[in-house]
Amino acid sequence: MAIPVMKESWQSKVLEVVLGATPEKGGTRGKTITIGGESTLPYLLSEGDIPNRPQVAMEVWDIAPDNWEEQLMEPFADVIEDPAAWAQKCVEEFGADLVQLKLMSGDPEGEDAGPEDVEETVKKVLKAVDVPIIITGPGNEEKDNLLLPAAAEASRGENCLLGLAIEENYRTLAAACMANGHNIIATSPIDINLCKQVNILLSEMDVPKNRIVIDPTTGALGYGIEYTYSIMERIRLGALQADKMIAMPFLNFVGEEAWRTKEARESAQEGGDIRLGISWEILTAVNFIHAGSDLLVLRHPDSVKQIKEHIDVLMGS
């Protein structure tokens, strides 16, 4: 006797977020990128649609990273001092769909760069590439609140994605995003209740729901990957069951977390075999694609290539 195949029918779907603005929409990007819109669990294409493929971004720092191991720096050696050239290389040579400009020069314990420096960098990077960009601060609340509004203004109308908004610090960034027409990254520490809370807080400031991207906080392989996975799974189930306050697409900072692990770091040191670190990054990324990630930020060009191929297979393209 044939066993009937049970199919789930969901009531709702993930919101779509559009990144970037072309000249018709007041920006200068060559194209826009849409993420989200899933009406099924990851790649269960018999139960619903995945209208937009996951996008792969690459990290670009505005200063040479001081904590990247030697072999990880290698592919970027010629552009490491120049964020515009670095961004260009990521897009043109390594095939990044977007770039994440990290304003690490603003770190008060490092160069402690001010808003004017940052504005200039943002403009340069926008000129160098025509893909949508993600902009994040150094991660120091005070400096983020100083630099991100400046970055938001310098990229006005480009419909960028800015972060990170956290429960304790979201007002300044939300206001800057709203005033300058950007999207916002809502970050929570692997906690579904806080995830929803940040989204509610942003909504209370009138940030439209389709301008929010969820950063659930990414745990790398061997370092909490399963916690992030299960939170993402639960959030996505909520979205499909029509909980609008968690129905936003996901962003995962994979590169940062994978290359923070002891194993990846050691593999990229002099004399190590970096293929281990690259595998670490790829496996972490693949895991989150299968948890429903819509946007992944990676570091190594080989990981980008592999992950894009993986996505091609999943999307049947």
């Binding site: 579904i192 209740n193 509610i200 209370e204």
Partner: protein, 262 residues
Amino acid sequence: MILIGERINGLFKDVRKAIQEKDPKPIQELAIKQAEAGAHYLDVNTGPAVDNPAEVMDWLVEVVQEVVDIPLSIDAAKMDAIEAGLKVHKNGRPIINSTTAEAKMLERALTLTKEYNALLIGLAMNEKGVPKDANSRCAIAMEIIAVADEFGIPTSDLFIDPLILPVGVAQDHAPEVLETISQIKTLADPPPKTVIGLSNVSQKAKHRELINRIFLVMSMGVGLDAAIVDVNDKDLMDAMATAKILLNQEIYAESYLEMSRR
């Protein structure tokens, strides 16, 4: 939780007066107020005191649809009045409110359900009246489900109303209604939805709002899907939002209440 706003009903004095004077304004204000409070449907009932229910229903539906774009629950004792409302209904799928299991009425209601692609509320009663216990209510519900199936109406388009009576009149009915709500889910797969006309439980009682609020939460606890309620009763809405959290139907967040009030 599917919320059906109860206020546009000729049983209320302000609505009755507006109907008599053919004054759309008070009705439209009630429609907007309920839609803004989060109603998914608006119940529209001419009330018993009109000579020409079909004509009044037609007018009510038109008047309401001028100001809101949510679907309506067309509520009348006579199918002719319901059909008059269905004919002019234009936003989404209307709810036919309601039919009993009495054969002639049920067949007419199911014919209209099909013709107008509507949803249907079936009352757990027949020509003999409202049964006292849960088993008899479920038996009637099963009849409705079976006949609907013959008409090709999917069970998921049916709402069964187990009929709650005023606590001051028939106190022993409330536990039976709760039992019915939970049993109905086992009658078919997919199961029909359940609905109650909440305010009936507190008819003529002194502490109406408290009774409504508690009974709604108790009913949600046994799986209620929909309720015809006063969506502008803020305490009731808060209780509902909290019940959804405690039943794990919605994900908790510190500001869940602020969000549900927006």
